[in-house]
C-alpha cells in the first residue's frame, strides 16, 4: 500500500472490516511508514475531538418557546382558514338562495302573465289609444248575437256607430243571462255561466257595444 492509497482508505480504518485484506495492508503500511502512522494518530485525535464537541450538543434541542410560537401560529392559521371557509360557504349559500328566489319569482310572474288579469279586475283603456273596430249597426229587427271572437265589438241595439270615437273599454264579469238586459239573445241553458265582457262605454256612461273576452268556469 502506498501513502496515497493509505490516505484514501486507511484513515477510515474503523470502517474497514478486520477480515478485509485492506485492513491488514493498512496495518502493514502503518508499521512501515512513520508519516502515515503520525497522520493516523492525528486523525484519531481529531475523531475524538469531534466526538467530544458533538457530545456537548448531543442533547441540544430547540427551546420550548419555539414550540409555543409554532402552535400559536398553527391555531391562528387554521382558525383563519376555517373562518374564511365558513364565509365562502355562507356566500355561496346566499347566492344560491338569491338565484332560487329570482327563478321562483320569474316563474310566478310568467304564470300570472299567461293567465291574464284576475277575474274581478277591471281594465280601462282610453278609446283613443286602443285598437278597436267600430262595428256596423244591426239591421232593424235582426237578432243580435254576441260574438265569441274577442277582436270584434258588437253594437248594442240603439247604439250609433259614429258616436264611439271617445268610448272607453271596460272589462266586467257578469252572468251570461245579464246580456239579455242589454238586448242580446242568450242561451238559456248557459245563462248562469260567468263570463268576462268588454263593454265599450260611451261619453254618456251607457254601454254602446260589447265583446266576449273570456269565459270563466
Amino acid at each position: 500500500m502506498t501513502c496515497e492509497e493509505f490516505e484514501l482508505a486507511g484513515l477510515d480504518l474503523e470502517t474497514i472490516q478486520g477480515d478485509d485484506p485492506a485492513h491488514s495492508a493498512v496495518r502493514e503500511h502503518l508499521r512501515s511508514c512513520p508519516r502515515c502512522a503520525a497522520l493516523q494518530e492525528n486523525w484519531q485525535t481529531l475523531q475524538a475531538d469531534l466526538h467530544a464537541v458533538g457530545a456537548e450538543t448531543q442533547e441540544a434541542e430547540a427551546p420550548a418557546r419555539v414550540e409555543m410560537r409554532l402552535r400559536q401560529e398553527f391555531r391562528t392559521r387554521h382558525k383563519t382558514v376555517k373562518a374564511r371557509r365558513a364565509a365562502v360557504y355562507a356566500g355561496w349559500t346566499l347566492a344560491a338562495a338569491a338565484v332560487v328566489m329570482a327563478a321562483v319569482s320569474w316563474v310566478n310572474w310568467r304564470h300570472e302573465n299567461g293567465k291574464g288579469s284576475p277575474p274581478s279586475a277591471v281594465n280601462s283603456e282610453q278609446g283613443g289609444n286602443m285598437n278597436k273596430t267600430t262595428p256596423a249597426g244591426p239591421e232593424l229587427g235582426e237578432t243580435i248575437v254576441a260574438s265569441n271572437d274577442a277582436g270584434e265589438f258588437t253594437l248594442l241595439p240603439g247604439s250609433l256607430p259614429g258616436l264611439l270615437g271617445d268610448a272607453t273599454v271596460v272589462r266586467v264579469q257578469m252572468q251570461r243571462g245579464a246580456l239579455g238586459a242589454l238586448g242580446l239573445t242568450v242561451n238559456e241553458e248557459r245563462a248562469a255561466d260567468l263570463i268576462q265582457v268588454d263593454l265599450l262605454v260611451g261619453d254618456d256612461g251607457q254601454p254602446q257595444a260589447l265583446r266576449l273576452a273570456q269565459t270563466t268556469d
Binding site: D12, N42, W43, H51, F74, R77
Partner: protein, 200 residues
C-alpha cells in the same frame, strides 16, 4: 384524536394540514432536535438555529403540500429546508460564527469526564474543543455539512447521503476533504513528517 407513536410522518402531516394540532405537535417533537442541532452546528449561533427551526416548521404549517412522500422521507425534506435556511443565514451573516451564546443547558456536559479534571486540564480541554468547533465553522459549507452529520451527529454515510440527497461517494469524499482541512486548520499536520516528493 389519539396519536400512535409509530404513526407515519406523512399521515401526521396530512392530519396536521387539516388542522389537527396534536398531529403537528407530534411531528415537531419528532424532528425538531436533530434539525436544531444541525442548524446550530452549521451556524454556530443558538439564535440563528432557533430562528431556522421555527422557519422550517412555519413552512410546514403554511405549505404542507410541498412535501411529496413519493420523493423521500419527511426528515430529508425538512433537512433540505433547513440547509437552505442555513445557507441564507450564512450568506447574510458570514462572520457570525460564534458559539459564545451556548449556555450550560445547550452545551451538555453529561458523561464528558469533566468531573475528573483539574481546573487547568479542564481549561485546556475547553480551549481545545473551542478550537475544533471554530475550525469546523470555518470549513467550506459542503465539507462542513459532511463533518457535522458524520463527525458530530455520527450518522452513517448512507444516512447522511439520504439527508443531503447525494450519493454516498460524495459524502465520503467531502468528509475526507473536510477532515483533511480540519487537520490543517488545527495544525495537527505540523509535526507530521513530509511525504517524500509530496507537495502540499
Amino acid at each position: 384524536m389519539h396519536i400512535e407513536a409509530q404513526e407515519r410522518d406523512d399521515v401526521l402531516l396530512r392530519r396536521s394540514a387539516k388542522g389537527d394540532e396534536r398531529a403537528f405537535t407530534e411531528l415537531y417533537r419528532r424532528h425538531q432536535a436533530p434539525l436544531y442541532r444541525f442548524a446550530l452546528r452549521m451556524s454556530g449561533n443558538v439564535w440563528a438555529a432557533e430562528e431556522i427551526v421555527q422557519d422550517v416548521f412555519m413552512t410546514l404549517i403554511r405549505e404542507p403540500k410541498k412535501f411529496d412522500p413519493e420523493r423521500g422521507a419527511l426528515r430529508s425534506f425538512l433537512y433540505g429546508i433547513t440547509r437552505n435556511r442555513v445557507m441564507k443565514h450564512l450568506e447574510r451573516a458570514p462572520r457570525e460564527l460564534l458559539h459564545e451564546e451556548l449556555d450550560e443547558d445547550t452545551v451538555g456536559q453529561r458523561g464528558l469526564g469533566f468531573e475528573a479534571l483539574t481546573p487547568a486540564e479542564w481549561a485546556e480541554v475547553r480551549e481545545r474543543r473551542e478550537q475544533v468547533r471554530a475550525a469546523v465553522l470555518k470549513l467550506p459549507v459542503e465539507f462542513r455539512e459532511a463533518v457535522v452529520l458524520c463527525g458530530l451527529e455520527e450518522l452513517s454515510y448512507e444516512e447522511a447521503a439520504r439527508l443531503l440527497d447525494c450519493p454516498v461517494g460524495t459524502i465520503r469524499s467531502r468528509l475526507h476533504r473536510g477532515r483533511a482541512l480540519l487537520l490543517v486548520k488545527l495544525e495537527m499536520l505540523r509535526d507530521t513528517p513530509k511525504r517524500a516528493g509530496a507537495s502540499r
